[in-house]
Symmetry: C2
Subunit: 472 residues, 2 copies
């Protein structure tokens, strides 16, 4: 592990060195499948205009009418049908025969139990080459001289209200990140601004540009619904985990659990949502109140005292009920049933530009944030062993599986394989998906403890942090 | 420790029990001194009108022209003069002859080295009786039958731009908390709403009402400036630490440091401030930009690319400089020099209603929050020993003393005293203040390592968590 880190770091800091060979076909199954023909490459260098919202690094893409699965699954038409079968819910993984995913990453997925017509999760795993704009020293360079760098990329996209946004994000978000990272090469050390904070900023802005692209293209190209996005970028010794939504990432290291994300839901983002409703009451359309109450208030309770919380409070206090408190609360419900404007249960992600309050024209998008929280993990600070992994999962996994249960499965599955067997991470991903799906029994999918398994789409990446990476 | 917790809990939950004796003069030096005549008690039960902002639990108070120190210091006129002497900077503590502070709390303070005319820190330590509005069971009760409870209270108030706000908060904030806690007795268990969350909500609202009272009375009564507020409430086995400003609280338990607050400064609250400037641009008055840049931009750089951060970003990215980016940044500077609107270095607290941008009529108060962050520590979850303490300090302490240095001083000083010697906590508070002040040398106050000591006002409470509490 440390070797690959050191060589990559050594490469970038040697400003006079030749650009690294662009990975042509490492362990990267990025050939377009019939279902997901990749759009042409983005134009190389439109001037960055962050803040103006007009940059469009990835070209306009055609509408995607048909159902698709990640290209790296290499599904045949028959395989695609099996992957789309709600009754069988067969677990899908990349074939043993093809090229392995970078770092011997494990992947597995399964379709929902009938919640939506297709599997609305999507995934992407790529090695991405970034051509620099200028040299590290700050002197302008001709494009032909551009000094580049590579990053490794994994993305999970959990769609809702249609699969369009998740498909588009899976195809294009890493290209937005690549575009933003071009600025990295014109960086020279400045007060406050670290290299790490530039990568974080690049990822944050890439999410915003991706969301803006969806807004522009939603009419002509059927970008249906929205999606949560959980993305990992590995660059120069550091792992960046960016999350916008309710997927989750944890590192399991020597049995210890290190959370690498948090979920963004109406409950966890209550104060942000309430503050927006308070500062911009027009966004509530006279239909909602930004205050929260423990239960819906009845008209006959006007004038009585009731517990409430506002945007400034984490605790509860009493107030006298006034007329506008009878409106529906902006945030209501608990746990998986919590909703913004009685409609959506996740508060960050991409897309949802057309989402309206049920039976209303009131848009919900102003309350949703497309910005991820980015956490950074320095791989060089610890000598990782082959059993140390980063696990990414959509909520289908985490709804029925605790962090500790995942850590136990990591231990159980990996210990059954030789440390240098690269197939162990795929087996682990499959075990995690199977463990969350359960088996058909008693008119439902049930776990061994007889609780209900997840009826949602379930997708899992297992990224080894000290494993037998095949890219070296 | 556990005993006092259990008996207090047992008392409140015994709904049929007689109201507890109101502490008349426990270890509570709350007799008004000539300098700080306490205002009359607040009227008992104005109807709570949280949210409307009109409740005024504490009566209007007279203007306070003269300099004052906490009543529990029991300073004579000569003592007051010594406490006000910037040259000598004598450390002040409650006298050994008087009643001890509750829980044998240690306290020490020292005036600044000339930064302001008087010591603008203030402190308060009280045992407060709360008369309930109704019984725990929810049935209305006559006031005469009211079932009450006691809480212990410590407050540190670090004033700026005058001492008025800090003095007023030291005299009245606990009364606002008492008023809010009256609602606790009408609580019956409801979904989501725990007893703890009601205490948190009561403290949060008390801060707001205190701030509103300052706004109402600022003209007639010279409530100058503003203040940070760091408050501890002990109630029914739990310690609530509420912080609005840049004071700090830590628990040192068996040598381990447990942070009990975080600081609210232009740097830590950058995104909140920027979001407000973005959503309400009129608050920037055309003078400021909500964007942050690593350095001030020159007009000749218009059109060039520059690093920036907005309200959504933790990282940095590039943008093309536009005309309005030439405005002064809403948040600028680093560390102790960070400022909002080039004026104030702390972003939460009480007061500051008249604060304007320098040479402008633009008000700064809209960017300041009066709401504390409240952290809860359950005293019953751990058997504390006499060396376990909660240390509160204004920034005068923390500017030159790390958490670890405080923990080392805790160990060094307490180990020099018998565990049951109640004077050890005062000695510890004095040692902490002295260690931050230093000694006069080389035309300044210097620490043993020859670095500059703090020239600010310094105030410290040391609250024993398992010590020889004198209140039992």
């Amino acid at each position: 592990m440390l070797n690959r880190v050191r060589s990559a770091v050594a490469h970038l800091v040697s400003s006079g060195g030749a650009p690294p060979p662009r990975p042509k076909s490492p362990d990267l199954p990025n050939a377009p499948s019939p279902q997901t023909a990749a759009p042409p490459e983005a134009p190389r260098s439109p001037p960055a205009t962050a803040g103006s919202g007009s940059a469009a690094p990835a070209k306009t893409v055609k509408a995607r009418a048909s159902f698709s699965r990640p290209t790296f699954l290499q599904l045949s038409p028959g395989g695609l049908r099996r992957a789309d079968d709600h009754a069988g819910r067969a677990v899908q993984s990349p074939p043993d025969t093809g090229r392995r995913l970078p770092w011997s990453t494990g992947y597995a997925e399964v379709i929902n139990a009938g919640k939506s017509r297709h599997n609305e999760d999507q995934a992407c795993c790529e090695v991405v080459y970034v051509e620099g704009r200028r040299s590290v020293s700050g002197a302008p360079r001709e494009p032909s001289q551009g000094q580049g760098l590579c990053f490794y990329y994994w993305g999970l996209f959990d769609g809702h209200a249609g699969g369009g946004a998740a498909e588009m994000a899976a195809r294009l978000l890493h290209r937005h990140i690549r575009e933003q990272l071009k600025d990295l090469s014109c960086w020279s050390s400045q007060k406050e601004v670290t290299h790490e904070s530039l990568v974080v900023g690049a990822i944050e802005n890439a999410f915003q540009f991706m969301d803006e692209q969806m807004a522009r293209e939603r009419r002509g190209h059927q970008v249906e619904g929205g999606c949560c996005a959980l993305v990992v970028v590995y660059l120069l010794g550091k792992v960046y985990v960016a999350n916008a939504g309710d997927s989750r990432a944890i590192i399991v290291r020597n049995g210890e659990i290190i959370p690498m994300s948090r979920e963004f839901t109406p409950e966890t983002e209550r104060q942000r949502l309430q503050l927006l409703g308070f500062l911009k009451p027009e966004l509530l359309g006279g239909e909602f109140t930004h205050l929260e109450f423990p239960r819906r208030i009845q008209p006959k309770e006007l004038g009585q005292r009731m517990l409430y919380r506002d945007q400034n409070m984490t605790g509860w206090a009493y107030k006298k009920i006034e007329l506008e408190d009878l409106r529906f609360p902006l945030v209501c419900g608990e746990g998986k049933k919590a909703r913004v404007m009685a409609t959506i249960g996740v508060t960050r992600g991409l897309g949802d530009h057309n989402l309206k309050v049920c039976s209303s024209t009131l848009p919900i998008k102003p309350f949703l944030s497309c910005f991820p929280e980015v956490r950074v993990y320095d791989l060089t600070q610890y000598e990782h062993c082959p059993d140390d992994v980063l696990v990414l999962g959509t909520d289908g996994l985490w709804d029925v599986t605790s962090d500790c249960e995942v850590a136990a499965t990591v231990d159980r599955v990996l210990s059954a394989y030789e440390p240098n067997d690269p197939s162990r991470y795929k087996a682990l991903a499959q075990a995690l998906v199977l463990g969350a799906r359960g088996t058909p029994r008693d008119r439902g999918w049930r776990l061994p403890n007889n609780k209900l398994g997840s009826g949602d789409d379930i997708s899992v990446f297992v990224i080894p942090l000290g494993g037998p990476g095949s890219y070296s």
